[in-house]
């Protein structure tokens, strides 16, 4: 697992209070990890903080799975 994916996983586990083994690449934040729309806003803020990236609202709307987050961050981090 890449360094980005490890750090994303850690944030998701901490913010959503879910078991680490549930945070697979294909896991959907809402359908599989019990997040609501506000939890996603908070997750996106935590990703921005951790990786020093800016994730605009329209981009954030397309981040629905762990994989989406990993890919966006890999592509946009400084």
């Amino acid at each position: 697992m890449s360094d980005t994916a490890e750090r994303v996983k850690k944030i998701v586990v901490e913010h959503l209070g879910v078991d680490a083994d549930k945070v697979t690449e294909d896991a959907s934040f809402i359908d599989d990890l019990g997040a609501d729309s506000l939890d996603i806003v908070e997750l996106v803020m935590a990703f921005e903080e951790e990786f020093g990236v800016e994730i605009p609202d329209d981009a954030a709307e397309n981040i629905t799975t762990v994989k989406d987050a990993n890919e966006y961050i890999e592509k946009n981090k400084g």
Partner: protein
């Protein structure tokens, strides 16, 4: 008329994360006061408080027992305390598995005097230092006063009235009184009722200190600071925590074979219409509140054995006592009156609920809790049993609990043995 009884209790206090630990420590004359550990208070006039202890402490509170990790991260501590105390009360009442029909007739009336002050303080700093885009999306609903009632209703599926009182330090008592009325008025059969507070944060301590309400000369002797009715009292000690009761319609409780602690028989309310922080010097509002509670209970002064006083360890203590003396007259010599704030501090919006629970336990165990640190009773306390230093066994048939709040808002509750 529909009668209202108490069938479950839950407590989070500076002396315990549950009812029995808190109560046994109260009866053992222990103090929950200490130096403030939540933040560096060294530049504050008041540097002490009665904090809820961490879970590894002998009297600690473990938030993980009943509150999801995710919710703990999103909300202020007063909500965490409130959810846990409500959960304890539900378990104590044997209501973990309510039918859908019962849930439609079960509600919440859990309030707070101030709400999420620590979170308002810290998130204001985030806004100021890092901009609006860094403010938590959970900021608002993690701080709102009615969100204990909200969270508890969601967690346990309670679909009846969802109410929340905000009357400063009278909140807990008003919450119980209002909820009892809702049951009496047939709005619900079961109500989770109580209050919570957690404002031991820099702006909370500074604000009350600047209002000259907090103690300031006991920083090196925290356990001696809360001393209601004592000549050397100089302001209240801030406490934190929550108290929640299950109130239930009497026939409903009987039909399901519930354990019944006490009946809520009297509720009095009044306004001082005098000053924002000081009570009326004659104790007029307090007098009328107690008088109304007695009248509603259909009781006379001779029926009350114990008063859990508002008694905050401020100048107002003797004003309350004056009002009690005026109302109870000679009967005062047969009663006991104490302030458990001497042990756990002032829980503000949680006080009336926590103290009502102590009243109910006094009825259950036929023992009255002590007023700690009452070394030199102030003038005007003659002939009153203020239960100094040690708890005492005695007959306790009915109890009166007083709560008075900023704004001149007064509430009195009377509970009795069933």
């Amino acid at each position: 008329m529909r009668r209202v009884v108490v069938t479950g209790l839950g407590l989070v206090t500076p002396l315990g994360g549950d009812v029995e630990t808190s109560w046994q420590n109260i009866l053992a004359s222990k103090s929950g006061a200490g130096k403030i550990t939540r933040f560096d208070a060294s530049d504050h006039k008041c540097q002490i408080a009665c904090e809820v202890k961490p879970k590894d402490h002998e009297f600690g509170f473990d938030p993980d027992k009943r509150v999801d990790h995710k919710i703990q991260r999103q909300v202020d501590p007063f909500i965490v305390y409130g959810i846990d105390a409500a959960g304890q009360a539900i378990e104590d009442a044997g209501l973990e598995d309510m039918s859908d029909e019962m849930k439609l007739r079960a509600g919440c009336s859990i309030g707070s005097g101030i709400g999420g002050l620590p979170g308002i303080e810290s998130e204001s700093l985030v806004l100021h230092e890092r901009g609006p885009g860094r403010v938590s999306p959970h900021f608002v609903h993690g701080r709102l006063i009615n969100l204990i009632s909200g969270q508890v209703s969601i967690k346990y599926g309670l679909k009846g009235p969802n109410h929340s009182v905000v009357t400063a330090c009278s909140t807990g008592a008003h919450s119980i009184g209002d909820a009892a009325r809702m049951i009496r008025e047939d709005d619900a059969d079961i109500m989770l009722a109580g209050g919570a507070e957690a404002t031991i944060c820099p702006i909370g301590i500074a604000g009350f200190a600047q209002a000259r309400a907090l103690n300031s000369s006991y920083n090196d002797r925290p356990e001696e600071a809360s001393r209601p009715y004592d000549k050397d009292r100089d302001g209240f000690v801030m406490g934190e925590g929550a108290g929640v009761l299950v109130l239930e319609e009497y026939e409903h409780a009987k039909a399901r074979g519930a354990k019944i602690y006490a009946e809520v028989v009297g509720y009095g309310l009044s306004g001082d219409a005098y000053h924002v922080t000081a009570p009326h010097p004659d104790g007029d509002g307090a007098y009328r509140s107690m008088e109304m509670a007695l009248k509603k209970a259909g009781m006379s002064v001779g029926d009350i054995d114990y008063i859990n006083a508002h008694g905050t360890s401020t100048m107002a203590d003797t004003i309350e006592l004056g009002a009690v003396r005026r109302l109870f007259g000679n009967q005062l010599g047969n009663m006991s009156m104490s302030s458990t704030k001497s042990a756990i501090g002032h829980l503000l919006g949680g006080a009336g609920a926590v103290e009502s629970i102590f009243c109910i336990l006094a009825i259950r165990d036929q023992i009255v809790p002590p007023t700690l640190n009452l070394d030199n009773p102030d003038e005007g306390t003659d002939g009153v049993d203020l239960v100094p230093h040690k708890a005492r066994e005695r007959e306790v048939r009915a109890v009166l609990n007083n709560s008075f709040g900023f704004g001149g808002t007064n509430a009195s509750l009377i509970m009795k043995k069933v």
